[in-house]
Subunit: 229 residues, 2 copies
Amino acid sequence: MSLFCSSVSLANEHSICLGDVIEKTLVLGKGEFVCRQGQAFDSVYVLQTGSVKTFNMNDLGKEHITGFYHANDIVGFSGIDSGYYPISAKTLETTTICKVSFHKLEKLSTEIPYLKHQIFKIMSQQIVNNQRMLALLGSGSDIKVASFLLSLSARFNREDSPSDFFRLTMSRNDIGGYLGMTVETVSRAFTKFQKENIIKIKGKDISIIDFPAMNSLIDGIKSTSLVKA
Amino acid sequence: MSLFCSSVSLANEHSICLGDVIEKTLVLGKGEFVCRQGQAFDSVYVLQTGSVKTFNMNDLGKEHITGFYHANDIVGFSGIDSGYYPISAKTLETTTICKVSFHKLEKLSTEIPYLKHQIFKIMSQQIVNNQRMLALLGSGSDIKVASFLLSLSARFNREDSPSDFFRLTMSRNDIGGYLGMTVETVSRAFTKFQKENIIKIKGKDISIIDFPAMNSLIDGIKSTSLVKA
DNA sequence: CGAGGTATTGAATCGAATCAAACGTTGTGG
DNA sequence: CCACAACGTTTGATTCGATTCAATACCTCG
């Protein structure tokens, strides 16, 4: 399970019905906005290809990254509560997305309990993912970075190649903004892991070589799922 | 808006119907479990009085606190995704809660679109709250503690007294576990704020004296909600 | 090719964790 | 009701790690 968005499909056997709620499919270039913080909430966005970061600006112009999203992930649910998007979303590369009217989606979910359940599930999953991120609050930079890389890896293995190789579409700066640390510290963690032969990095391409070592790094934040009597 | 749970009521004009989904109302003493990490998910819990912490144990027995909940908050939505509670919940004092069957709640929400919308809203709110917490990832201990206190204050002002005075039902240890810092650092932040006449603390009772100073502390993580052209 | 942004590396500073000890509070049983 | 034990909290001194500042190397794209 990824730190990131949903592995649950909205559609399944009801995919036909979903045609009604898709407003349009958009192709966006690198660095374009999907939605902007403060805009009225009306849609959620389903990524088809590419990747997106969500973030908000603090009063001093520094941006805090709240998440990275890839194919099949859904962006925008956080706008339901207030009726406004609390975050901006920007593409990290050329990206195609489906704009889905939330109003229509919600109406359709009344007719299709399965759809409603899926929405519940996706939102629940986002809560769980965010809480897993929060477990990083107290941990050091190595753990944060390792956890980040493992999440990305898990996210890609799910549907794409089962390989340990993938591409970081976001900048080191974005990673830092996501994990709450500086660019320099991100870079240092990368070089350190590389020297220890845990990963191999070349620019934006990364491969995880030593999964056991990687996993042992994050032992401290993995939670036992046992029920203790 | 609080860092914590929901300010949105499940019921409103439909409160009559909710009688059907409430399994039972429980009174728990201090330190009792509401639900346990790993148990099969079947219910959400609505707090009537008292307070609760949610947490999970990592492999080394240290607990990470994922949230504090008070009257009218709802605990347990994170279990929808996997079908198991990913967290344990424990009372911080004598607490009364309603156990609500999620299965029944979901079925009822099919008949009452308003109810469904409220559930969406509450879950969306939790996503937003968690993301606000995540903004603390990169900030120092003073900011974390100030942010925590302001959230609690906002949470209580909402419905209880409009006073700047409240009681911390959780231990310093719990606060540390929540904010990702040690007990000592929490304590030091408290004494520092007190020396600066920003707050007044006596054991578990706290009053916020200088709100402007408190707010200026967290300027760095407040996000502008403006739409920039 | 050159320029601007992005990434890496190094040295010095600052802040939080850690270790250790004293102080307070709470709850229990004599 | 007091004494004591157990736990929670505060405070201090030291260590360790991340940020900061600064300089250099690397890529990407016009």
